[in-house]
């Protein structure tokens, strides 16, 4: 007798779930760039297309950074361990958008006028912290491969805690840039603080349980 399998089982396969989520991350990750490129060539990005590209790419950088940092808290809260498989992809998309963000600023806005850019990086605190965040992301992107994870061992985790520092600097960069409407920078700051708090809470719990075990 043939067993009628329920339709839901296809999606119930955890590997497929991760695959689908990865496809979704790719679509969301590349979507803004495709949308901006199309808009730029159609002239539909509004009166100041360069500013729009820089702002939107900056926001997506933060979204992906926060999403990357949300993976572990979500894992702890839901117990869904496989979600960890999305983290590298999310992190690399954060780095990708950070690069597009910076290159739009340096190239589209300043035509790679190095003296002006250097002036900004050294003298404008919001650009200094934004640039520092970008620099911090470079070693994280480079060491995201399996080979580096193996080679660095325990040090890898310590190194990759820099993602919190980069995100903090990114939020500060955003907060210092706006003139009066600090709503979204504060939303980002609260989200980051929340994620960090969950992390600390679980860390404390872990320590307590290890002590008890002894």
């Amino acid at each position: 007798m043939a067993v009628q399998r329920p339709r839901a089982s296809w999606i119930a396969n955890p590997r497929r779930q991760i695959l689908l989520l990865k496809i979704a991350v790719w679509i969301v990750g590349l979507g803004p760039v495709v949308w901006l490129a199309a808009g730029a060539f159609q002239g539909t990005l509004g009166a100041n297309p360069v500013e729009k590209i820089i702002h939107i790419e900056g926001r997506w950088t933060l979204v992906f950074l926060l999403a990357t940092l949300a993976v572990t808290p979500v894992r702890r809260l839901t117990g869904w361990n496989r979600i960890i498989q999305l983290r590298r992809l999310l992190g690399l998309f954060a780095f990708f958008h950070a690069c597009v963000h910076f290159l739009s600023y340096a190239g589209l806005d300043y035509f790679f006028a190095l003296s002006l850019i250097l002036d900004d990086v050294l003298e404008r605190r919001y650009i200094t912290v934004g640039f520092a965040a970008l620099i911090l992301l470079i070693p994280l992107a480079v060491t995201s491969t399996k080979g580096w994870i193996r080679r660095l061992g325990k040090r890898w985790q310590r190194l990759h805690r820099l993602a919190y520092v980069a995100a903090g600097l990114g939020v500060l960069h955003y907060y210092w840039k706006v003139k009066a409407d600090t709503f979204w920078p504060l939303v980002a700051a609260v989200t980051l603080a929340g994620l960090f708090a969950i992390r600390l809470a679980y860390r404390g719990k872990k320590k307590r349980t290890t002590k008890k075990g002894r």
């Binding site: 297309p49 900004d120 404008r124 919001y126």
Partner: protein, 314 residues
């Protein structure tokens, strides 16, 4: 590489400015400034001066109607540049009353029509430089602020003139969350700045009625100062002896001053003012241009600030 795509909605320049006026726009700008100068200072030489100034500066290619009317800072209608164009339709511009008060002989509540009518309208193409380091070139229609001030007959003790924007939460509904800048929006000028012939009371754009998002029905344009000095939707004009409080200088005193003259040598604490991006939706690859001292109007208005430390009085 320059990508320039003309949209169907673009207004052909032939429609907005007579072609001969447009081609001779430098002369035209110089001349209209000169008319003002001649009328209020009684000195015809100003025309020659301002024309010389224009020849040295960059070409004044007017920004498109679409760009001027969809990229606005008018926080009462939202803080995104595209918000005012979407939201300002709720602003009721007729009837409109302007309260004139303070140290003057002719205080009172004036209907917009009565406030504007005695003056002759002029078209002026001005550079517009925002404190956020972007700029436009805008063909305004209006009349010298000096006209309105002369009609109010300020007392000899009046040294400043203050302005207020309409603040009506019913017409300016709360959107999400309003930044805590004090309402109503306030601005002000020293009286000698205000009576300078370049300072304009504006009621029109590209020869048409001023759109709400651009500050209808009546706004100020002070072309040598950062855009936020050019207060929109004015409901009050007050003559004072002391420097009046102004919105941004009150909100963030370390970043915005009372004078706020365009000055490439005095940076905003958070960003450089040395260059600016000329707003243009049709061109993605466009170099920034160097910002000019007093926005290119130094020959006309530079004397107002002689002997002043512009780093201190920024």
């Amino acid at each position: 590489m320059i990508i320039r795509i003309a949209k169907k909605s673009d207004i052909p320049s032939s429609e907005i400015t007579p072609e001969d006026v447009y081609i001779n726009r430098r002369k035209f700008l110089g001349a209209s400034a000169g008319i003002g100068a001649a009328a209020f200072l009684g000195c015809g030489a100003a025309a020659a001066d301002s024309e010389a100034a224009e020849t040295d500066s960059q070409d004044l290619e007017p920004t498109s109607w679409d760009d001027i009317t969809t990229y606005n800072n008018f926080y009462e209608f939202g803080t995104d540049k595209a918000d005012p164009a979407r939201n300002a339709h709720t602003l009721v511009t007729r009837p409109w009353t302007i309260k004139v008060d303070g140290l003057c002989a002719k205080p009172g509540d004036y209907q917009l029509e009565d406030f504007v009518k005695p003056s002759v309208m002029e078209d002026r193409v001005y550079r517009f430089r925002c404190v956020e380091a972007w700029s436009m070139v805008v063909p305004w229609r209006g009349f010298p602020l000096a006209d309105a001030i002369a009609r109010a007959e300020p007392d000899p003790s009046a040294r400043y003139v203050a302005f207020e924007t309409l603040w009506d939460p019913a017409q300016m509904p709360e959107r999400r969350w309003k930044p805590r800048i004090g309402w109503p929006y306030r601005e002000g000028l020293r009286l000698d700045e205000a009576t300078h012939p370049l300072a304009l009371m504006v009621t029109g754009l590209y020869g048409k009625t001023l759109p709400n998002q651009n500050g209808a029905p009546l706004r100020l344009i002070v072309p040598w100062k950062y855009g936020f000095k050019s207060i929109k939707s004015i409901v009050r004009m007050t003559f004072t002896e002391d420097e009046p409080p102004t919105t941004w200088a009150t909100q963030t005193p370390g970043e915005y001053g009372f004078y706020s003259n365009v000055n490439p040598n005095v940076d905003h604490p958070r960003w450089s003012q040395a260059t600016e991006r000329v707003v243009d939706s049709s061109r993605l690859f466009k170099r920034r241009i160097e910002t000019l001292f007093l926005n290119g109007y130094a020959d006309e208005v530079g004397h107002l600030y002689e002997g002043m430390d512009l780093r201190k009085y920024f």
